[in-house]
């Protein structure tokens, strides 16, 4: 593993340099989604589940974008690009309910699983696969996406 440690709160993590997936076969039975992700993504441990407040979020700053990680009331974790498709509002700052988040700027509702705007609004933001294992949160980033 060639993980470069970020050096402070304001320093972006250099995710695009990560080479090896942190996911190992022994970590648990991989789901279909994980299998698919594994072929093209790097699984990176991002946080402990308890670091993300329930019905809240945390932000991961990368070189190219901010990624918002959300935790639902049932402890599912979703990761999406921290940009509302409407006017780029920081979705991480919105109110989380069910598996969606309401953008703090103009109240668009975004589905956390698909990144798509709900209701009559139209638009979509990027999503990233996540998995939670023994209270640890892993995020899958393809190099292409992270570099895009």
């Amino acid at each position: 593993m060639i993980l470069k440690q970020p050096v402070g709160a304001l320093s972006p993590a250099r995710l695009i340099n990560y080479e090896a997936p942190t996911y190992r076969a022994g970590d648990g039975a991989p789901t279909t989604q994980m299998m698919k992700s594994d072929t093209m993504n790097n699984w990176t441990e991002i946080a402990k589940l308890e670091d993300i407040p329930r019905l809240g979020s945390r932000v991961l700053k990368t070189d190219t974008m901010n990624i918002a990680l959300f935790r639902t009331s049932s402890d599912e974790v979703f990761a999406i690009r921290d940009e509302c498709p409407h006017k780029k509002g920081p979705l991480s700052q919105g109110i989380v309910h069910g598996t969606s988040v309401t953008c703090p700027l103009h109240n668009w509702k975004i589905d956390l699983a698909s990144g798509e705007a709900l209701g009559p609004d139209e638009g979509c933001t990027n999503t990233f696969a996540t998995r939670v294992e023994n209270g640890r949160v892993f995020l899958a980033l393809s190099r292409n996406e992270a570099a895009a």
Partner: protein, 811 residues
């Protein structure tokens, strides 16, 4: 296996019920629909514009074939159900098709009433009920010249207007002496008749039809008095009767309509009925608005939720004749003992009349200027006491303090590119198109599709007016009986009362008690509930950060680029050289992009990244500043003028009083933002009369003003009272604030709150009930113990650190 639901009647009521059902229980049923007309579901109330050539048939379709397919609904178009076999729970159609049901929904609508005169079955005698009738009329308009419409009510007049628009020479025959007698009083009726005559319609009043004459095809109408009138086309527009034939055949109990209970169930518990065919508490509604409420209830029951019930509808009427504005609701003909407020300007074609009983509106008739129809209707339905604004009520809602929209509120005269919603840049044409294209009926629908009226809400009245003029009586303001949000059926008031009465002390407890429909609530209800709990259980309720809007969670104002602004509190707006130097030094240290003065005499530092906030707060705290709460639904600022200490006109020390008021009130959470001001003399330099609570000092004491605001809709305060001492100012201020905190709806400022409950109510609580006032003040002081803890200091010292720190890659 899924249960089977069969719907008989592919009209608005039935399909609306299905839509509601699919929203709450999308997978519960296999659904089969029978419709006797060969079309999909269309908007029947748009038949008048269709006839008048203002809409095309595509414009009025509500659900196309895709909708049925997408929802896996089997649709039999043009196939009439002829039998309900209740013993075997199946329906049989004319061609022998059968469909078994577990639940059956009847929405068979109504039939036109054909007056039983000889000749009514001749060619050229038709009703005005469905698309087929409209086509017959359009065809007749091409081939013939003279039309007679029997019936001077809503239906008849709309048909007559449409035929006239198609170039026919139309005479309306009416049995009584005034048109639309069920909706209009005589003066309004006379105005309507004059206006329609000017457009070219002719009227025969008090004319009883005896026979339709002609050989094979209608040639004319003969009346009881022996006179005759020529006609190539006779339209019966006298009314409708519920279509109960199928239900009667099946042995279901019917009176005028199919009798249903409060959950829209017929006498066979497996069979429900909605719409014009149903009779609820003795009434079979002929307007479309109640159908939606019924549909909602039926859907709720069919979904197995079982908590909704229908209590009947109060209806209002509009005539869908372009260019004629007419509105009526309730008991518009005064009974003995009722009072009438009216305004008549025949030259301008305006007539307004309200029937008042016991200071409440009982009925309304508006002609020519109907913009306030939905407001009067709301006041009537909610039984609002109108004593406080009775003097100006006829001038309309905008006269209650609207700043200069004036005649611009006459929406119908606006062009399509006139901007209605200034926040989201939505024009009239956008709204009208969305209403027609998506078949919208409620304010919520329009908000969702166009964003109009979804931000500041100041254009809500305009959007409602557009809705009611576009969909006519299909728009029912009562659908906006405001549940707090889509997660619940309950209103703000019901929830507030429940939280107190049942000692509900957490958001999950409220959601459980009131049977919330969503597991976590939503961005609308969570902040509201969090506020209510905080306001009622000070010291007990633990604030839920995740139910706060971001500004209150991060204690800064989020800006368009995701940065935050920081506004420290400067009590009373009085600062010092030392404070200013501290602020300057701190702003420089943090490289604050923009520093400016706010409208409330404070200093705003804009453009800080979120993770910088605890740092700058630490510096501000060290310099003696606390949070200005400029981001919250909270006490914002107390604005002051210099007062007697310096000003040659000053009567009292307004600056010091302002500082003391801010020390009393800072930190308190409110239903909405809350601003104070103290002016040192009646010149009112601190603009105290557009504040939530304003003090105007005079030589003999202090005038207390309430319920003002600038902003969207400027409202000048009402004078609450005059007091003599500063102690009284503090007590009245605290008591008023607490009353507002306890009773207003979340996100309702004092101005609309005072208008809603009435100034006299506030006076009763604050002025006339001294013990009550003192108790309110005590409760305010008690709750302030827990509120006056500076959130910035706590966070600068490390509390809620996760809120302000981005994630790092672990291990």
């Amino acid at each position: 296996m899924k249960e089977r639901l069969v719907l008989v009647g592919n009209g608005m009521a039935g399909v609306r019920t299905l839509e509601e059902l699919l929203k709450v229980a999308p997978d519960k049923y296999d659904i089969t629909v029978f419709g006797s007309e060969p079309y999909g579901n269309y908007n029947r109330i748009m038949l008048s514009p269709l006839l008048a050539g203002e809409k095309s048939i595509d414009d009025i379709m509500l659900n196309d074939a895709d909708w049925y397919r997408d929802n896996q609904i089997t649709l039999y178009k043009g196939l009439e159900v002829t039998e309900i076999d209740r013993a075997n729970r199946r329906v049989v159609a004319r061609d022998g098709t059968t469909a078994a049901y577990d639940r059956l929904l009847l929405a068979t609508g109504s039939n036109p009433f054909m007056i039983p005169v000889p000749g009514r079955d001749k060619d050229g005698v038709i009703a005005f009920r469905d698309i087929h009738d409209v086509y017959s009329m359009l065809q007749a308009a091409e081939d013939y010249r003279k039309a007679v419409v029997i019936g001077g009510g809503l239906l008849g007049l709309e048909a007559a207007n449409g035929l006239m628009k198609q170039g026919m020479d139309v005479t309306v025959v009416h049995l009584l002496d005034s048109l639309m007698e069920r909706q209009l009083d005589k003066p309004a009726s006379a105005l309507l008749k004059a206006s329609l005559e000017k457009r070219g319609l002719r009227f025969l009043m008090e004319a009883a039809t005896e026979e339709i004459i002609g050989n094979g095809r209608a040639r004319g109408v003969r009346f009881k008095d022996g006179s005759e009138i020529a006609a190539d086309l006779v339209v019966m527009g006298v009314g409708i009767v519920p279509n109960t034939a199928l239900a009667r055949q099946a042995g279901l109990h019917c009176e005028r309509g199919i009798v249903v209970n409060d959950v829209m169930q017929t006498f066979d518990p497996r069979i429900y009925a909605v719409g014009e065919c149903a009779q609820h508490r003795g009434i079979a509604y002929g307007l479309v608005a109640p159908l939606f409420e019924q549909g909602k209830v039926a859907a709720n029951q069919l979904a197995g939720l079982g908590y909704a019930s229908y209590k009947g509808s109060v209806t209002s009427t509009k005539l869908k004749v372009t260019g004629i504005d007419l509105f009526s609701a309730g008991e518009f003909n005064e009974a003995e003992g009722d009072e009438v407020i009216s305004l008549q300007d025949p030259a301008a074609g305006t007539y307004k009349k309200l029937v008042i009983s016991n200071n409440r509106i009982k009925g309304a008739v508006l002609y020519g200027d109907t913009i306030d129809g939905s407001w009067y209707f709301q006041l009537m339905r909610e039984g609002t006491r109108i004593a406080d604004f009775r003097k100006t009520i006829l001038f309309g809602q905008h006269d209650l303090g609207d700043a200069g929209h004036g005649d611009e509120t006459r929406v119908m005269s606006l062009s399509d590119n006139a901007e209605i919603c200034g926040c989201n840049g939505v024009c009239k044409g956008d709204i009208v198109n969305a209403i027609a294209k998506h078949g919208l009926f409620t304010l919520e629908d329009v908000r969702a599709h166009t964003k109009a009226s979804s931000s500041c809400g100041s254009c809500t009245g305009l959007v409602e007016a557009l809705l009611s003029s576009t969909v006519g009586e299909g728009y029912d303001a009562s659908l906006n009986k405001k549940p707090l949000c889509k997660c619940t059926e309950y209103s703000h008031d019901e929830l507030i009362a429940g939280i107190r009465k049942h000692a509900l002390k957490s958001i999950p407890a409220v959601r459980e008690f009131f049977e919330w429909k969503t597991p976590d609530g939503c961005a609308a209800c969570r902040p509201a509930l969090n506020y209510y709990l905080l306001a009622y259980w000070p010291g007990e309720y633990v604030d839920d950060a995740q139910s706060r809007f971001i500004n209150e969670r991060a204690h800064g104002n989020i800006q368009k680029d995701g940065t935050y602004s920081v506004i420290p509190r400067i009590f009373g707006g009085e600062t010092s050289a030392r404070q200013l130097m501290d602020l300057g030094r701190i702003a420089e240290k943090w490289d604050v992009p923009t520093v400016k003065f706010t409208g409330g005499q404070r200093i705003d530092m804009l453009g800080l990244e979120k993770d910088q906030l605890p740092g700058i707060w630490g510096d501000l705290t060290a310099a003696g500043f606390v949070s200005g709460h400029a981001y919250g639904k909270a006490l914002r600022t107390v604005k002051t003028c210099v007062g007697s200490e310096w000003c040659r006109f000053g009567t009292q020390d307004s600056t010091r009083l302002g500082i003391e008021l801010e020390q009393l009130t800072w930190g308190s959470w409110m239903p909405h933002k809350f601003k104070l001001a103290v002016s040192g003399c009646p010149r009112n330099c601190a603009e105290a009369t557009i504040k939530d609570f304003g003090v105007v000092c005079v030589d003999s004491g202090y005038e207390l003003h309430i319920g003002g605001n600038g902003g969207i809709k400027v409202r000048v305060t009402d004078l609450l009272t005059k007091v003599e001492t500063e102690e009284q100012v503090m007590e009245y201020c605290g008591a008023f604030t607490q009353l507002y905190r306890e009773e207003a709806h979340y996100l309702e400022r004092t101005a609309p709150w005072v208008e809603r409950v009435g100034l006299s109510y506030v006076k009763e609580k604050i002025l006339h009930d001294a013990a009550g006032r003192k108790a309110l003040y005590e409760r305010f002081l008690y709750s302030q113990q827990f509120a006056q803890i500076d959130p910035w200091k706590a966070r600068a010292e490390g509390s809620e650190a996760h809120e302000f720190t981005p994630l790092k890659i672990a291990g």
